[in-house]
Amino acid sequence: MKHFSEDDLIAYQLHESSDESAIHRHLEECKDCAALSESIAETLRVFSAEPFPQPDLEHNWQRLRGNLSVLTPEHPSRLSILRWHWAWPAIGLVAAALIVMAGVGLHLHHEQRTKLHLALDNHAINGHGPLTTQPTDPAIADHLDAAERLLTEVNNSQGSLDQTTREQAHTLLLKNAVYVHTARDSGDVAEAAVLENLGRVLTTLDNEPPTERSAWRLRLEMNTNGLLLDIRILRQNDDDKNQGAAQ
């Protein structure tokens, strides 16, 4: 008597088998295969679909909307660009002049621009504009990754926060100050804003008394201002997998 393999019987139970009738006949005769098949069926019953908690659409929309940039129609086609061939020399001259002027301007006003950036409010994040900046420094990416994990853990845990979590927050807080400074210096207002927001939460985490109430307040703050999502967006890289999925 030819027995069927476990994969054959799993396929049978999932109605993926191409030989269902033959397996069915065999199971009526073979106790061993019938027992294995029943064990598979029992496993599938145990792991049947669990109830899905409905998400709060309004809440999710509000969190998402703040990070949606205003899209513009598709770029003009290549042919329409080529129609401007007669203008390329003039465009080149103008571009060269602009580059020279911009270089001089940057040189003369570098300090003023830096101060201006420092004085700007956090306006590029969550609710006020698109988040388009991605960290190019691997150290900052690692920092954001660690922060995301910590905040997710805090967000999903219950009760007061343990000592290990608070120590991690303290370490991240020290590093965060450096990265805020770096982001400001490089003029990356969006990244600086996220890091400053992160710094505030980490400071709370580091200094608040270890009570359940303070931990609850911290989670509320994180969820209200969408910090976790901001960090994730900032940290995420457009990996090939998702590029492929989007096509």
């Binding site: 993926e16 792991f47 949606l68 940039s69 513009t72 129609p73 990996d239």
Partner: protein
């Protein structure tokens, strides 16, 4: 996850979004966020991660909307993206050994939005048994790779055809089947010591 063509309302919403009206995206979100979050929930195993993954998927879809070819349904496209963001999230969680977030059945609590797998009206003994069973299920699921978990839950719980799962996960149909079979085999063996005690 159907392969139906997009209806006029969705086509119009996309046209408006591409024209600069980001609020029009709400139409697509209202229609598909729940189903996308449900798929993400099957893969991630908890509500918080599911909503994070679904949000990330909608954000990615929005940013790639100018390149979206409308010869397939938006629902198909966004679900595929959500599967990938969910798997990525699970992989990140698995990498982080310090991550111990409460899962579906560890501590069901309506106040915290965690999932109540156990019967809320059961007796204390029944509730304890349900909690224990749910914990065993969670531990068994944790033994699967993200790909196995995704393929299994989508096929068995969402009843999505293998061909669509394979396309979404960017693998062959045979690989998708093998992932499901491996998952069922692992789950069966992990429950074998307590077989008969889980209902």
């Amino acid at each position: 996850m159907s392969n139906r063509r997009m209806d006029r309302a969705e086509t119009e919403a996309i046209r408006e979004v591409l024209g600069g009206n980001r609020d029009a995206y709400r139409v697509l979100m209202d229609r598909h966020f729940s189903s996308v979050a449900r798929v993400a929930f099957r893969i991630t195993g908890n509500k918080e991660d599911a909503e994070e993954a679904a949000q990330e998927a909608f954000l990615r879809a929005y940013n790639k909307l100018p390149t979206f070819r409308q010869d397939s349904a938006f629902s198909t496209w966004i679900t595929r993206i959500a599967m990938n963001t969910s798997i990525n999230l699970v992989e990140r969680r698995k990498r982080d050994l310090s991550y111990h977030a409460p899962r579906i059945a560890d501590e069901p609590s309506a106040a915290d939005g965690t999932v109540r797998v156990a019967d809320g009206h059961a007796s204390p003994e029944g509730a304890l048994l349900s909690l224990e069973a749910a914990t065993l299920r969670h531990e068994a699921m944790a033994g699967l790779t993200p790909m196995e978990r995704a393929a299994f839950t989508l096929r068995h719980m969402e009843e999505i055809p293998m061909t669509e799962i394979a396309t979404a996960l960017n693998i062959t149909v045979n690989s998708a089947k093998q992932a499901v079979f491996r998952a069922v085999g692992k789950l069966r063996r992990s429950l074998a010591p307590v077989a008969g005690g889980l209902r």
